[in-house]
């Protein structure tokens, strides 16, 4: 009777055989073997060095020098961790993120404190300690198979007994066969076993290396808390940048606007004053009209300075915001040169900072509409959706708005995105060429 193997299963079987058959000839298998050997050597070295530091450190603790030795040992531990990471990157392509950098405060005690409290160094030391049983297991479970396979395959050439039978194989295959009667049969068997093991070895080694990968990810990369801290640090630095940028803008506006106007004002009044002094002595009547013109200019300059200063103060913190986002947005839209429809539906007031961020986003977006969009009308909506405050600015302009972070063309949108991200909010832009442009900002209403 013919056993009919379904086609699908046959294909799967062929694929599995191909996979197993190809494995010993892939670079990856040999790289893993190489990694195991190299990292075992590194572990041995680490054990000796760190053990020496540890023993000396503990032994000398009474004379305080021990603390120094321990700190030195931890520095070495961190370095060994770096070597191990480099090894994993080279041999396995395993790209482990660097742990938090060693950044001691200046001075000797800063160094000592940072060294002894260096989490990355301690974790590296723990890694090498934990690596000891893993290495022993790897020799027993994986290296033995490789050695056996290679020796057995070589036995027809060397005429040797074929294999050392250590590790996991000692139990499964029984004691090794040696010469004597049935020599050929014995050698044939040894070779056949070697050939089979040759295809098994990559898999046992892969299992051991996989365990090591897990251990490295656990102990040699940044830990979870560090990762979170890093994210927070990034967002904090962006927030600080945004704050600095705001201050810079205010300074610029003051410098270019009010300050310049006041200087011009003082200049005109100074001129007028000197002309008045001259009038006292001898009064050529023609000078009177020049004097009047100077005073007129000064007067106009003073009024302009007042207007500019008011606009600037509003830009720093709009007074309307004190009574709520609704009022502030209504004023903002009314002041926009592009006709803007406003809809606000807020059942409760968001926190002050969220209100301010929302307001400035809306202001920046409306300013963009006025400056770049070539729009005939725009709309601004602000509504609460559960815990989120959603602000949408829409215009019928020419579109093509992007978040650009490069050089002088860096758009205000990039700054907005950073500002919004700083409070875990989100900004999205839909702006196909030809428009319309829709910018949606979601902010957590409770900050």
């Amino acid at each position: 009777m013919l056993i009919r193997i379904p086609q699908e299963q046959a294909r799967q079987l062929r694929r599995a055989l191909e996979l197993v058959g190809r494995e010993p000839f892939r670079r990856r298998s040999w790289a893993e073997l190489g990694f195991f050997l190299a990292s075992s050597a590194l572990t041995l070295a680490a054990l000796v060095v760190l053990g020496a530091f540890g023993l000396a450190g503990v032994g000398l603790t009474v004379v305080l020098v021990g603390v120094l030795v321990l700190a030195g040992g931890l520095r070495v531990g961190r370095g060994l961790g770096r070597w191990q990471r480099a090894l994993a990157r080279q041999a396995l392509g395993e790209d482990l993120a660097e742990p938090e950098p060693f950044s001691p405060r200046p001075g000797f005690f800063g160094w000592l404190r940072a060294s002894l409290g260096d989490r990355a160094a301690w974790r590296a030391v723990i890694y090498f300690v934990a690596k000891v049983p893993l290495t022993i297991f790897g020799i027993w479970f994986a290296l033995s198979v490789w050695v056996e396979a290679l020796l057995a395959l070589a036995s027809p050439l060397t005429g040797g007994p074929g294999g050392t039978r250590f590790g996991v194989l000692g139990r499964t295959l029984g004691p090794g066969h040696s010469g004597g009667p049935g020599w050929l049969v014995n050698h044939g068997r040894v070779f056949a076993v070697g050939a089979v093991l040759f295809f098994v070895a990559p898999w046992t080694m892969r299992a051991v290396v996989a365990l090591d990968r897990g251990l490295m990810r656990l102990l040699l990369g940044p830990d979870a808390a560090t990762s979170r801290v890093r994210t927070l640090e990034e967002s904090r630095s962006k927030t600080l940048d945004a704050a600095t940028e705001t201050l810079r803008r205010i300074e610029r506006n003051l410098h270019d606007g009010t300050q310049a106007q006041l200087v011009a004002l003082a200049m005109r009044l100074g001129q007028a004053k000197e002309k008045l002094d001259q009038l006292d002595d001898s009064a050529p009547p023609g000078d009177l009209s020049a004097l009047r013109r100077l005073v007129d200019d000064a007067h106009r300059g003073a009024k302009e300075a007042i207007t500019d200063l008011r606009d600037l103060a509003r830009g720093i913190h709009p007074p309307a915001l004190d009574t709520g986002l609704e009022n502030a947005l209504a004023t903002l839209a009314a002041r926009s040169p592009v006709p803007t429809a406003v809809t606000v539906s807020l059942p409760s007031r968001p926190t002050r900072s969220i209100e301010a961020i929302g307001y400035f986003c809306a202001a920046e977006l409306l300013a963009n509409v006025a400056q770049h969009a070539h729009a005939s009308r725009a709309s601004l909506s602000c509504a609460q959706h559960g815990p989120w405050l959603r602000i949408v600015v829409r215009d019928d302009g020419r579109g093509g708005a992007t978040v650009c972070r490069l050089g002088s063309s860096s758009s205000g949108l990039a700054g907005l995105a950073d500002r919004v991200a700083a409070v875990d909010g989100h900004l999205s832009i839909g702006s196909p060429p030809g428009g319309p442009t829709v910018v949606t900002i979601d902010l957590p209403a409770r900050g």
């Binding site: 410098h255 300050q259 310049a260 106007q261 011009a264 003082a266 200049m267 100074g270």
Partner: protein
Amino acid sequence: MTALGTSARVVIAEDSAVLRDGLVQLLTDRGFAVLAAERDAVGLERAVTADPPDVAVVDIRMPPTFTDEGLQAALRLRRSHPEVGILVFSQYVETRYAAELLAGGAAGIGYLLKDRVADVSDFVEALVRVASGGTALDPEVVTQLMGASRRTDTLGALSGREREVLTLMAEGRTNSAIAAALTVSEGAVEKHVASIFAKLDLPATSTDHRRVLAVLRYLEG
């Protein structure tokens, strides 16, 4: 006012329109010939190259980056047109800017706060001084340079009045101007100056800008 004051040729570089117009009006009124009023450093260099004036009034912060374009342009002009006086005109005094500006010598260099324009006559006088190869430093600049000087120990040896005289000297004033400013006799000023030169171990010279140079060299050292 020297005779040059009524005919000095000026180029202005100032990005604020209101100030630029004000300066043009003021200087024209005072008999200066304003050859060009530019709004950025590129325009300034073009104008000076096309028709070198006696003096250029240069704002430090100008487009496109609003940092120190004006100063950089002034330093370049100093090299390409050493005969053109440079009056740097800014709303802030930065010690580094002053040091860079004076590094090549104090002749024909001025650094004034914009506020000084309110005292029109003083400003015009300073501009004329720079146009004729002299020096005009804002008291603020001098104070900062003195503060930044590493020789505060020897400066401490000066009496209060001598410090005042030194400050005015570094601003580029003549003995008679210093005497007028401090309402003392010119002879008294001369005595103070001699004493300062002795205490600071400076070579005694008579030319105005050389005195400034000597003072500044000493302060920088």
